[in-house]
């Protein structure tokens, strides 16, 4: 089985971005390029799966060295393949959705939007396949830069403020904490490569704990409290951007860094052995609970979903911090499971906004009659986030639950269960009220207030249908993901 060289996964979206920028005057051709690139990228990333899984290959590419022994290196490994696979797989429905949303909503600067989107995907590929900390940092920052124009897309005062928060938190954490940790690692060990079992073997436990703190907090995209404020404020961006942030690339990059650094820089055993690492467990647990409680108080649908994301991300951080194979497996699975569930929810929120111009949870009562398909997909996404079978989210929560027990933290299992109940409380009433309560009475002249509301444009519906089906499929066929995570963290010994 042949596979592509890993750098091709960056070249495809990069070239795509350039062509998109040049085709600004021909929107149909421009969108065709986006879709073609998304399809090509999916094939390219897809070809890497059998190579890694069945042949044990680690396709690599070495770029220029910027310092002696420090260069751009790509190397495909299973954890990165999960993240890259999710991003590549979701780019296609997200593009489809973007076309429907941006046109249906008559947004301006669409060329910039699609070009920056492709650049973001290229950065995500670079993060996923980074072979050392330097490469990881380069593309992590590139992702922040490429998404900045997307977050500030509307150019309003509110969007600019969100943009400032966005770069402030993301660059603030990565440039000060993460880069410090990377250079420190380099001065201590002479390498920044990712290696199975970690590279910090000779570093004293105290210093290892400091580095652990710098890396974990330095990955601001993981939105662990108190570094989460940028995420809800970035909701001001168009909905496809929210999908990119919450599901396809950005926050997943944050938790991916947390997982990857835990496994390949510290090593699972090192994380488990240090008492100085336990604080992260409690920080993640606190984030999970607080974010879920805040989500319940939000009437704005996208804000509610944003806080839901903050909570769900800390599941993955928790998995990394538990320091056992089950935790890594659960975290790795949750990257994919949460992505499919949350992108469905955001697609639905955007569809409701485009079709019905509603943004508040309280306005959605009875909407299920007008937009049954959308609300059904919403219910599917919600159930997956909650972690109920037959949806993908059940698997990751199952493994995370087992991981807490194996690590001897039964209290954290209770946290996970409470959080699931909170998820039920803030997500499920939305589709239930939409379907089973009647819409508010109109002013009499036009019948019901929801008169004239139809489903969103077809591309949007196709996209959210696909991702909802994806959530279901992930429950019945999780084998591929399970095999990938077991490659990283052997289970069941």
């Amino acid at each position: 089985m042949t596979h592509v060289s890993p750098e091709l996964t960056l070249v495809i979206p990069l070239v795509g971005a350039v062509i998109i920028a040049l085709l600004g005057r021909w929107p149909n051709a421009r969108e065709a390029v986006t879709l073609a690139c998304a399809a090509a990228l999916l094939l390219a990333v897809g070809s890497l799966f059998p190579a890694v899984l069945e042949h044990g290959a680690r396709p690599a590419w070495r770029g220029p060295e910027v310092l002696p022994g420090l260069g751009l290196v790509l190397e495909v490994e299973p954890l990165g393949l999960i993240y890259a696979g999710v991003a590549a797989l979701l780019w296609l429905p997200n593009s489809l959705y973007s076309i429907g949303y941006m046109r249906g909503h008559h947004e301006t600067n669409q060329t910039r939007f699609f070009a920056c989107f492709a650049l973001s995907i290229a950065s995500a590929m670079g993060i996923a396949f980074s072979g050392n900390l330097f490469t990881l940092f380069v593309f992590y920052e590139a992702l922040s830069l490429a998404t900045f124009p997307l977050v500030t897309h509307h150019g309003t005062e509110k969007a600019q403020r969100a943009g400032r928060l966005y770069v402030g938190f993301l660059f603030g954490t990565s440039m000060v904490l993460m880069l410090l940790a990377i250079v420190w690692t380099w001065t201590l060990t002479g390498t920044v490569d990712f290696r199975a079992g970690g590279i910090l073997g000779d570093v004293s436990p105290g210093l290892t704990a400091v580095l652990f703190g710098l890396f974990m907090l330095g990955s601001g995209k993981a939105a662990v409290m108190p570094f989460h404020f940028w995420l809800p404020s970035a909701m001001v961006a168009p909905t496809p951007v929210s999908a990119l942030l919450h599901a396809v690339a950005v926050v997943k990059a944050g938790v991916f860094v947390v997982l990857k650094v835990s496994v390949y820089v510290f090593g699972v055993d090192t994380v488990a052995s240090g008492v100085h690492h336990e604080w992260l467990l409690y920080l993640a647990a606190a984030t999970i609970l607080i974010a879920s409680i805040v989500a319940m108080t939000k009437d704005d649908l996208k804000a509610r979903l944003a806080y839901s994301t903050v909570g769900q991300l800390s599941y993955i951080v928790l998995g990394a911090a538990l320091g056992n194979s089950l935790g890594v497996a659960g975290g790795g699975l949750h990257i994919a499971m949460h992505a499919f569930g949350k992108i469905t929810l955001f697609f639905c929120a955007g569809a409701i906004y485009v079709a019905a111009h509603k943004t508040k949870v309280s306005e959605l009562t009875g909407l299920g009659r007008r937009m049954p398909f959308t609300m059904l997909a919403f219910a599917v996404g919600a159930l997956s986030i909650i972690g109920l079978p037959p949806l993908g989210g059940a698997w990751s929560k199952w493994y995370l639950g087992l991981a807490t027990l194996e690590a001897g933290h039964a209290g954290l299992l209770v946290v996970l269960l409470i959080s699931s109940l909170l998820n039920v409380a803030y997500l499920l009433p939305i589709p239930l009220k939409a379907f089973f309560l009647s819409p508010p009475a109109g002013d009499g002249a036009h019948g019901g207030a929801d008169e004239g509301i139809h489903e969103a444009p077809l591309p949007c519906l196709i996209a959210l249908g696909l991702t909802a089906l994806g959530s279901v499929a992930l429950f019945f066929w999780p084998d591929l993901l399970l095999r990938l995570v077991t490659e990283v963290a052997p289970l069941g010994s």
């Binding site: 310092l67 940092f137 660059f171 440039m175 000060v176 880069l179 410090l180």
Partner: protein
């Protein structure tokens, strides 16, 4: 007779004599042509000299054939060969392309004076860099400074405040020169020599001398003024803002760099590691002010409305980085300083050229005049964007490499708070650069100032993009930076003055 052995002298003499000749021609076009020829020739000479240094090692040239302790000698090693090529290279890029900008900002009857002064200033800086004689160094510093005061004052036809800026610069520059002169006087008293190599040898036995210590302190303070190290940096903000833009581009990329080079020379080769860092607390003094420069300079840059002033305060911060690296007293730190020296020269030169394009089209360079120019001036905007990223030190620009070295150097020395300052500094740079880019790219054109008629002539953006290409090359090629590190190690070993 061949001229090859005379190259070290010609590097200084060509611009010096050209400056004198241009002062006599009284014709704007001819002055520009001569100045361009001279600056390109000088650059070629510095490259030849650098090649010779690489092949033969230290090149020593006795001026007028008088041997060292009596006569004045030029001494060129890997370190100052690099700085010579940098200064001459920036002049070779900026002078020939400056015509449109100078025509817009300097009265036509002053063009001959303008180009004469530019070349004399360049000659002064090259002499300062090449010389191996301490008093000669002082004289040449004054030549480059006096011409710089005059050049800043030439900005007066655009804005009268250029005159006060020039006067302030003159006062501060002269105070700095006085400190330097007094310091050199003490050192001469103690050692009885003005030759740098000689002085280094004799100082080794005089570490206990109060005279020597006083001399060291005066020299360091004088150099701090010349480098515009915080808190004696205020002159630079005004000078950069009101000078003709091409003068600012040249000075921002060369003058402060030469100051840093002299400081390295004094601290490492003349005083030596022990006198500088063990007996005298030069490192603590410079580190403290470097950290303050980084933080305060960046914070002030964030608040500026005029982009030239913003870039000037950014330079205050960048000088902080340069001084921080040399004050770490290690190979890592010095490598950081050298990479940063080169990178910042390229980036700041490019940014001021781009700002010159805006001044050319818009008549000013405040945030208002830059609003939304990306639509009509895409290449100028691109130069501002890439240059801005270089200031931040994003990966794959030279700024990242130098930042890496500085942070590693600070950590190696056990000074993690200094490492944090370096990183916080680049975070603050994100703030002022993104603010600038938001205005340039996302500002609504035509709302606060008229939209530019079109892209500026290629003589603005082409050299800017060329310089930025150099910065990116520094950022991606380990080989380029590897050569610099060798130079750094050489200076640290104190092989040649």
């Amino acid at each position: 007779m061949t001229l090859t052995p005379q190259v070290p002298a010609l590097v200084v003499l060509v611009p010096l004599l050209a400056g004198v000749v241009i002062g006599l021609v009284r014709h704007a076009g001819l002055a520009w042509l001569l100045a361009s020829l001279a600056s390109v020739t000088t650059f070629a000479l510095t490259l030849a000299l650098a090649a010779r240094v690489q092949a033969e090692g230290v090149v020593i040239y006795a001026m007028g054939g008088w041997a060292a302790p009596t006569g004045i000698e030029l001494r060129v090693d890997a370190l100052n060969a690099l700085v010579l090529a940098l200064v001459a290279g920036m002049a070779a890029v900026i002078v020939p392309t400056s015509r449109a900008s100078v025509a817009r900002e300097v009265p036509a009857d002053r063009h001959d004076q303008f180009y004469a002064l530019v070349l004399l200033c360049v000659a002064g800086m090259l002499g300062v860099t090449a010389t191996g004689d301490a008093f000669n160094l002082y004289v040449l510093i004054e030549i480059s400074s006096l011409t710089a005061y005059a050049l800043v004052a030439l900005g007066r036809s655009r804005d009268r405040r250029a005159l006060t800026a020039s006067f302030q610069y003159l006062i501060m520059g002269s105070i700095g020169a006085s400190f330097l002169l007094v310091g050199l006087g003490y050192l001469f008293l103690a050692t009885g020599t003005l030759n740098m190599a000689d002085m280094a040898v004799r100082l080794a036995d005089l570490h206990g001398s109060t005279t020597v210590r006083t001399g060291v302190a005066f020299v360091i303070v004088g150099l701090s003024l010349k480098m515009a190290l915080f808190p004696v940096h205020q002159w630079m903000a005004d000078a950069y803002t009101y000078a003709p833009t091409s003068v600012t581009a040249l000075m921002a990329s060369t003058a402060t760099k030469v100051g840093v080079y002299i400081t390295i020379r004094f601290v490492y080769t003349i005083f030596g590691h022990e006198l500088s860092f063990v007996i005298m607390p030069t490192d603590a003094f410079l580190l403290a002010f470097a950290c303050l420069a980084i933080v305060v300079g960046s914070l002030q840059a964030i608040r500026q409305h005029d982009v030239r002033r913003l870039l000037a305060y950014s330079s205050v911060a960048q000088i902080g980085y340069l001084v921080l690296g040399l004050a770490l007293g290690s190979a890592l730190g010095l490598s950081g300083t050298l990479v940063h020296l080169l990178n910042h020269a390229l980036v700041k030169g490019a940014l001021f050229l781009a700002v010159g394009a805006v001044v050319y089209r818009q008549g000013g360079a405040t945030m208002h005049e830059l609003t939304g120019i990306a639509r009509r001036m895409p290449l100028t905007a691109a130069a501002i964007a890439v240059g801005g990223l270089g200031l931040i030190g994003v990966p794959l620009t030279g700024g990242f490499v130098s930042k890496w070295y500085l942070v590693a150097g600070a950590l190696e020395a056990g000074l993690w708070p200094v490492a944090v300052v370096v990183l916080v500094g680049s975070l603050l740079a994100v703030a002022y650069v993104l603010r600038l880019l938001q205005v340039v790219y996302f500002g609504e054109p035509g709302t606060v100032a008229p939209e530019p008629a079109g892209e500026a002539p290629a003589s603005f953006w082409a050299p800017a993009l060329l310089l930025l290409l150099g910065s990116v090359a520094l950022g991606v090629s380990g080989q380029l930076t590897g050569g610099l590190i060798a130079a750094a190690a050489g200076a640290l070993a104190g092989g040649a003055p």
